[in-house]
């Protein structure tokens, strides 16, 4: 092999290494180990579709729209040749390993995706969905629909890991069927200058939604998050837990639950920790009752690390920096079920980094 070709090969290998490293950060395992299925979009192309389970269907969305006419109902606003996935878990099946979806902006500055995930009745599945970029600046737009049918359980973990000058906009609509469960864990600990996420969740009889988000707004980054949950039918339940740390960034979190029927129950908890004088945390827990037998509540606490708590930890022999770091780490520590050990460790490393950053 001549020198030129060798250099080219090394460059290519190096690039692949960078890609894999980036994807690792969002939990996308390029080797597909311990994954039931994989779908990767790099820039404007689908670069991986793999399906290791016969209980699972994974297609490009454009093909699925042609195959299933009923999808048009959910995808009215989606153009025919949309870039994105269609995933469907066949009825009465439990998918052991998570399915992974990755959205990667490698060279292009713009990426728009549309996705539909269907958990058919009596299914159980975990989805890991991650977004990241190698380009230094760019815009990502993602629109997703999740249909969780009767008695199904869908757990979605979304990890965003953006370079500084990128912005991300995502819109999600979720329908939780009768006695179904939808769990969403949104982890945005290293984001670009702007991150917006809007979700609407409609829950049918006996259905449950648990929405958790952990957010870190560093200097010059802006968050805007809104989750609107509607408890449409009797005994529907929802719990929202939002944890935000601002270290100079701005974070606007609006969480809303509407109780429309008998026996519905909803709780919102918004916690914010402000580490410096420049950041802003604006949380708005909002409740609306449209039935006398709905039970809705919220708690919200936003503030600095309290002097009293710091003094207490210091009186146990812990120096000031370590005490602050202990509080920050504890604040962000949310154990997410179904994560691979690698991903859990990667999140823990980020939390560790933030806990050190937050004390300086």
């Amino acid at each position: 092999m001549n020198v030129f070709l060798m250099e080219k090969k090394m460059l290519k290998e190096n690039k692949n290494f960078i890609d894999e490293e980036k994807l690792d950060l969002i939990g996308f395992d390029s080797s597909n180990k311990k994954r039931s299925g994989s779908f990767l979009i790099t820039d404007k192309n689908i670069t991986k579709i793999e399906n290791q389970s016969e209980k699972l269907e994974i297609l490009p969305l454009s093909e699925a729209i042609e195959k299933y006419s009923w999808l048009k109902k959910y995808a009215k606003s989606i153009p025919q040749k949309s870039l994105g996935y269609f995933m469907r878990v066949l009825p009465n099946s439990k998918i052991n390993y998570p399915i992974q979806a990755g959205f990667y902006m490698k060279e292009n500055k713009y990426q728009t995706t549309h996705n539909i995930f269907v958990a058919e009745p009596n299914t159980k599945v975990n989805l890991l969905s991650g977004c990241t970029a190698s380009v230094e600046e760019g815009k990502h737009l993602g629109i997703s629909h999740y249909l969780v049918r009767e008695n199904a359980l869908l757990s979605v973990t979304k990890i965003h890991y953006w370079p500084f000058r990128t912005s991300s906009f995502s819109k999600n609509s979720i329908i939780v069927g009768r006695n179904a469960t939808f769990i969403s864990n949104y982890v945005a600990l290293d984001i670009g200058e702007k991150e917006e996420s809007y979700s609407t969740i409609n829950i049918k009889e006996g259905g449950v939604a648990r929405i958790n988000s952990i957010i870190y707004a560093k200097k010059n980054s802006n968050f805007n998050i809104s989750d609107k949950v509607s408890l449409d039918e009797k005994n529907a339940r929802a719990e929202i837990l939002s944890k935000t740390i601002s270290n100079g960034g701005k974070s606007f979190v609006k969480e809303y639950i509407l109780g429309r029927d008998k026996g519905t129950k909803g709780h919102i908890e918004c916690d914010g920790l402000l580490l410096d004088n420049e950041g802003i945390i604006h949380t708005m827990p909002e409740l609306k009752a449209m039935h006398p037998q709905t039970d809705l509540s919220h708690e919200a606490a936003v503030g600095r690390i309290s002097e009293e708590e710091l003094n207490y930890l210091m009186s146990k022999g812990i120096d000031e920096k370590s005490a602050k770091s202990l509080i920050i780490r504890g604040f962000l520590e949310v154990k997410i079920k179904g994560l691979s050990r690698d991903l859990q460790e990667s999140i823990e490393r980020l939390i560790e980094k933030i806990s050190i950053e937050g004390t300086t």
């Binding site: 009293e308 003094n311 930890l313 812990i318």
Partner: protein, 254 residues
């Protein structure tokens, strides 16, 4: 003669523009335990807070020497590193910091956390945020457990007996006894303590060497703690303070 571990000379302390300690003196030698009696709100906790170094308490006069060296300007954690430890009466809830994690971080003695937590009925609490919805007794058990892992030379115990039921006070006291090396002959003991009590229950469970009464920011000289407590029960704090303020012998004459 044993060395003084702690020496407080003419200490005046202010908090939020109110002078609370007004010329307090106290000497504690190695291996001695001292109890301080007194009505609530008259400076007992301020004394412990000043020794540990809470920034809101301003020393306007006097000094505190620990192992012969002044503590002034030393941050709280440095004082702890030098060998003191505190158990609070009303500690704050520390959001996000699990008790188990805190115990792990401060465990400098290598004691086994699980076993002690089981004995102190705190196993379930290890997974909770520190002090989150702990009962009065659980708080005391958790605070004493923390000291047990740190093994300080000077223990500052703020009302370790308040709000604790009889069964639990026995267990907590057994740990205080161990910390104070009460199994050793008095000449061999190295650990000392200041124990604040309002109700005096702790005297039934821990052998304490000396007692003082605090009224209006000063202490009576050291005397037999059991005699003091008898007099408090009979005549109240103020009479007792007057009785002991000129020394133990005078008090006995009365």
């Amino acid at each position: 003669m044993k060395k003084n571990l702690l020496e407080i000379k003419d200490l005046w302390v202010k908090a939020e523009n109110k002078t609370i300690l007004k010329g307090l003196n106290l000497s504690i030698a190695e291996g001695e335990s001292h109890v301080i009696f007194g009505p609530n709100g008259l400076g007992k906790s301020t004394l412990l807070g000043s020794i540990i170094g809470f920034p809101r308490l301003k020393i306007i006069k006097g000094e505190i020497l620990f192992k012969g060296k002044s503590l002034s300007d030393l941050p709280i954690y440095e004082r702890v590193k030098r060998g003191m430890g505190i158990a609070f009466q009303h500690p704050p809830t520390v959001r996000g910091v699990k008790l188990g994690k805190l115990l792990e971080v401060i465990n400098t003695s290598g004691e086994k956390i699980q076993g002690i937590a089981k004995e102190l009925k705190l196993e379930e609490h290890l997974k909770r945020d520190t002090n989150q919805a702990f009962s009065g007794g659980e708080i005391k058990a958790s605070e004493i457990m923390q000291l047990f892992l740190q093994k300080p030379e000077l223990l500052l115990l703020d009302e370790p007996d308040s709000g604790v039921d009889v069964d639990n006070i026995k267990i907590i006291s057994s740990y205080i006894q161990k910390l104070l090396q009460k199994d050793l002959p008095i000449v061999k003991r190295k650990k000392s303590a200041i124990i604040i009590t309002h109700g005096g229950t702790i005297l039934n469970y821990v052998n304490i060497d000396f007692g003082h009464v605090m009224i209006e920011g000063v202490l009576t000289p050291q005397a037999n703690p059991y005699d003091i407590f008898d007099k408090i029960k009979r005549n109240g704090y103020r009479d007792c303070y007057e009785c002991f303020s000129n020394g133990e012998k005078n008090a006995k004459r009365k």
